[in-house]
Symmetry: C2
Subunit: 341 residues, 2 copies
């Protein structure tokens, strides 16, 4: 119950609150002896400064916000670890907000940030987000914003992404090199720029290989595994089915495996699979999954570091910084070349 305040310390020591405050902040205006006395009593009474009083006065909250679609995905789990590690290092606190892929929520959350609650924002936008006024407003209110992974192209702010286009190109190319001619591309959102880029890489790789793009093989999936299972199953039970699949979202992996198993389509003999995922379990799947893994932890970490650069210096024009951290294609059994074609 004992909420020790500076006032209490001051009274106890026959000092003014001003002096106590300065002593605690190790000001040169205070003599060594008084500082020691103050520190000792603070220790003894277990004094913990009220952060909100301090924030109010200093107009700094020592807090950042992380707004994410969800933490279901292993990408965001790892990203949070990266972010938190540097925040804790810098003595900052991190507020977490989930949009659940809803633009309305994202808007409401961002609107709050115009107050002084946070000093800066790390955001990966929802897949419903196709306008960005809410973000621009926050930036206009003076808060630095750093995008990571899912960005808004039309907002001028720091952006930490991975090489979505290139890695998708490589993945597609890898399938082509291993014999695929009819490659399907599975995705879950029309809005995300990240998706545009991956699809662009996919299409470009096909074109560069002289393969034509079949729009029937570009299929939009949805939220739940059961529904996706049906969608994928329908795609694969077709006579003219694809001989390769690229899943650009982690959660599509399970329904793909299930659908192939259900249809008795052997991976990789009948169909080859690549998934964008950070699941460690990829290498113990049956068969082990060829993956494009994003540098999730690194992305979170550098996003946070860029944000802190903006927070620590008053040099706000650092904000146009754009960092691309490459993803990695890890080749395993699901894309193994057929020996006897």
């Amino acid at each position: 119950m004992s909420n020790t305040t500076i006032k209490i310390l001051a009274k106890e020591l026959n000092l003014s609150v001003a002096s106590v405050s300065k002593a605690l902040r190790d000001s040169h205006e205070i003599s060594k002896e008084t500082k020691e006395k103050v520190l000792a009593l603070a220790q003894k009474l277990n004094y913990v400064p009220n952060p909100y009083a301090s924030s109010l006065r200093k107009r700094k909250s020592k807090t950042i916000a992380v707004v994410l679609p969800e933490v279901a995905d292993s990408f965001f789990s790892l990203a949070i670890n990266g972010i938190e590690s540097v925040a804790q290092d810098k003595g900052y606190h991190v507020l977490i907000y989930l949009t659940h892929e809803s633009f309305a929520r994202e808007e409401a959350i961002l609107n709050e940030f115009k107050s002084g609650r946070v000093d800066g924002i790390l955001i990966s936008v929802s897949d419903e987000t196709n306008t960005s006024d809410h973000i621009k407003q926050v930036i206009a209110s003076g808060k630095p914003v750093v995008f990571f992974d899912r960005v808004c192209d039309d907002v001028e702010a720091a952006k930490i992404t991975t090489d979505d286009m290139e890695s998708s190109y490589q993945a597609t190319h890898h399938l082509v090199m291993n014999g695929c001619r009819k490659i399907a591309y599975l995705y879950t959102s029309k809005n995300l720029s990240i998706n545009d880029k991956r699809m662009e890489g996919y299409k470009k790789a096909l074109s560069d290989s002289g393969l034509k793009i079949n729009e029937d093989f570009i299929v939009l999936c949805e939220g739940n595994t059961a529904g996706n299972f049906e969608i994928i199953r329908n795609l694969l039970k077709n006579k003219n089915r694809p001989d390769g699949i690229i899943a650009c979202v982690e959660k599509l992996t399970t329904p793909i495996y299930l659908a192939c198993h259900d249809l008795k389509l052997a991976i990789p003999d009948k169909i080859k699979v690549i998934s964008f995922t950070n699941l460690q379990a990829a290498l113990i799947l049956s068969p082990p999954l060829t993956t494009v893994t994003q540098p999730a932890f690194e992305m979170g970490k550098t996003a946070a570091m860029v944000l802190f650069k903006a927070l620590e210096k008053n040099n706000y024009n650092l904000k146009k910084e754009t960092i691309v951290i490459p993803s990695q294609l890890t080749i395993r059994s699901t894309t193994k070349k057929d020996l006897g074609v």
Copy 2:
């Protein structure tokens, strides 16, 4: 940049700050017309109240803390979703802190909570935690604390757990029923009560089945997958190797599969495996993994709900509440009974 304050609204409307404040909070002391005027201007100037000023005066932060070991695990990812969903519902903000399994960090983090930064705490303790003074002090300072999953037995507070003992008993029993006689138990921490309970269930199931407990089969693993691979490999390459494994932590799954594969030990023919995990990918592993899945989302959600019950009423003695949400044993191929023994 425009940080609209109540003072600005007041001046603009020729009202006192008191009246504006009351109007915004829809006080009965203010006439309908003035309220409308105030609301309109607030809207127009995009007024967002400063939360810290409000927190300072009201001595409420509308913020809770969630302190976790890590979010690497899918359990905690799901739990965060559960927590955040109810917090957002109640209009609360959630600060997230990771201890990285370090007691020192946990202590430092908890110590901060004696200030008014948060109104309540949700915690799953680090595996180094074997004293609980830091938690008791926070409770003594008047903040409600709710444990979830990993609890401190000697602290009087609300606790949301799963039936670790029973589910472990069932898992072990399931292995016994399917023919295992030499069952190994793999764990990663000596301290956690959650682990004691799981081990207790394991031992009890063995005893009840008339099997003797072999201490060599109770093996302590560590943090990284590579090291665990070696440990498990050593266990399994033994002449007198186990014919069943229970992994009480998700991250042990991968090294188990790898070690078995490396030693060409067929699962489930040569060795059967059960893992405590929430990985959705369990059903597409090779072979599909029998799991004990914890109700992660539910646990997070009810932990938050219990906390809010304490926050909303002044009835603090609700705090001795203990809720156990059962885990689920999902039987898949890794424990399939041998047909021809």
